[in-house]
Point group: C2
Amino acid sequence: METNIMDPNCPSRLVFQRIGDKWATLVIQVLEPGPMRFSDLRAKVAVVTPKVLTQTLRTLERDGLLTRTVFAQVPPRVDYQLTELGASLLPALKTLRTWAEQNVGRMAAAQDEYDAAIEDAVLSAAH
Amino acid sequence: METNIMDPNCPSRLVFQRIGDKWATLVIQVLEPGPMRFSDLRAKVAVVTPKVLTQTLRTLERDGLLTRTVFAQVPPRVDYQLTELGASLLPALKTLRTWAEQNVGRMAAAQDEYDAAIEDAVLSAAH
DNA sequence: CAGAATCCTTTTGGATACTG
DNA sequence: CAGTATCCAAAAGGATTCTG
């Protein structure tokens, strides 16, 4: 069967949505080297609140991209690690990052130019 | 200089954000074959409202990913087409789509499994 | 035709405080 | 330590109506 990206129910939409998630791709990339516990993730992913980090992790766990392992000890310890499926996404993310690193300068320049043109238009309209 | 994805100001964040935009990647991929006018885009991208489509197009234009060309005629005609920069993003998107098409089935299965486990937990808690 | 303007609902992200 | 519970502000997304 043909996957049609135009279809609102197209499965690839799900993936693009996940990629766009502010924290999801970050978490996946942080987990690349190996398992990590909640507090370490918080430290690594900077100023994310526990609530948002939990949300992100639950979503990724539900997607089968990572696993959550609880150790029965006090104080509690919970490890998160990429599944094979999650790890298989890394190359695609890497491709995107590479593009980003190489082209964000051009994007930023385009934005500056665009904004300057708008500014000019506003000023001349007010003449 | 080292780009650090952990940095909230990291430029690659901008790219991931754009990729995650519900309509942006769709528009870029629809424009691959060549220029297209507003109404054709609307038809292609299904049920998007003109407001949202306009927003998306403006953002992409500002990013330097596409150009907007107005023809001085009645009725009006406006063409949108990818810039070289916009087109250079296509391979990376293609990589993602390929991953999506190959793995969305596994993601969906993982979700079903996860939801079923949750459901079981709820039922047994109510025993 | 290609949108702009307005209004409204839903979702998202985050701050803060509390708990097993 | 690893979360959960509440509350809130901001933004995204969309329906509808109008216009050069």
